[in-house]
Symmetry: C2
Subunit: 272 residues, 2 copies
Amino acid sequence: MTTKDLIAQIHKKKSFLCIGLDTDLEKIPTYLLSEEDPIFSFNKAIIDATHQFAVAYKPNTAFYEACGRKGWKSLTKTIDYLNKNYPEIFTIADAKRGDIGNTSSMYAKAFLQEMGFDSVTVAPYMGKDSVEPFLQFRDKHAILLALTSNEGAFDFQTLEIDNTTLYKKVIEISKDWKNSERLMYVVGATKAEYLAEIRKIIPDSFLLVPGVGAQGGSLVDVCKYGMNKNVGLLVNSSRGIIYASESSNFPEIAAAKAEVIQREMAKQMENL
Amino acid sequence: MTTKDLIAQIHKKKSFLCIGLDTDLEKIPTYLLSEEDPIFSFNKAIIDATHQFAVAYKPNTAFYEACGRKGWKSLTKTIDYLNKNYPEIFTIADAKRGDIGNTSSMYAKAFLQEMGFDSVTVAPYMGKDSVEPFLQFRDKHAILLALTSNEGAFDFQTLEIDNTTLYKKVIEISKDWKNSERLMYVVGATKAEYLAEIRKIIPDSFLLVPGVGAQGGSLVDVCKYGMNKNVGLLVNSSRGIIYASESSNFPEIAAAKAEVIQREMAKQMENL
């Protein structure tokens, strides 16, 4: 998907909500467990109920790998379902991959070409040749970890380095990589004030923002510091939406939760 | 596997060779492609032919994920085969994972518990709570990326930070994490002289060393700067062994290549 199409969808739906499909067999309604593929059944129900309020879905691969081959099948079915039924939706494989060049190429092909995701999250530690293979596909994107939303973000990402911090250095250096216009960045909402600094380096890039809701970040602050003229944000919510109900009405409750966020987003977009 | 058992195996075989199972359908002998599971058939043949010269096998997950569900099955069959037939061998899932705490737990369970690998490689960028979940299993290990063997290693890992470098900071800080005695570290052979500095910080830890052979590193230098009283090294070779022949004699040729390296290793161990 082109960035232009993503922006058009955001304006059409008045939403920049990304729903995280962190689907865990221990957390989904128990009556689904008798189905042939409970994870896919859950995802399908969530997607069908919430797609008008969301512009992106983000399965985290850990939850699928934890179920082995079966999980991989559920993931494949989920992305196939999205691509077939909601081709306007932006899809993110939250895989946080990164390896030496030829190996990163294998990951890039797996997620962007074979499975057909629009984007994949990538870890920066191994540098340029570990990330560039994810940037070689037209209309596909790599979403680079810059400042994550967890406690451990302060172990290395915020260390001072050359009169700046590591996460800013990651963003600055990555701008010179080949096809860097296909880069987006992960910036956690729990540190919304950092977004202002980041916008000085990358005013136009899209930011994937986890940590609103369950992890304590505020949507208003994220918009205040991080929104640009094209919105430029994908704000993720996972648990707060998909696990809002444990009973058979979970799709409706998820939709209601997603709509609340979408309305807040529409309000924030009025400031554009 | 305990570190003690790994050391015992190294002394018994006079080898600290790790063979990388970077099994690529485009590189294995073409006659295998008619088999039901060509990747597993190739791995089995390599393992059966080389196990007396190697103490560890390291499938890189990218090569398996690139084949989707089928690839995941090949990976499962490979680790099952190793655990059943060669339980004395140390196994490494070269997955370079790392995510927020509860998500890292899913990866840790998948590789260390469900699949039964002895260890998994982990990326440090997201810090303590992204790595500790991999350290909670008795007799299992996380192998943390410190200084990798690729060009991109110089983008961030060697940046100066607090009068040291990022990769040394990663090692130093990780020593304080819970169950850090279960940590090993990836240190590329292409920068063997760096090993001396690293040994000042972690004299006793095991180092997984990629980049000998195809990537240009020297075994003699790695041993000179990196070997400790318990050897403390796992030196990886992938392409130089597994793709040494493209015909049906590939297992014998792989064994011959592995034996050459094992003999060099035995010679280096005489210096202990």
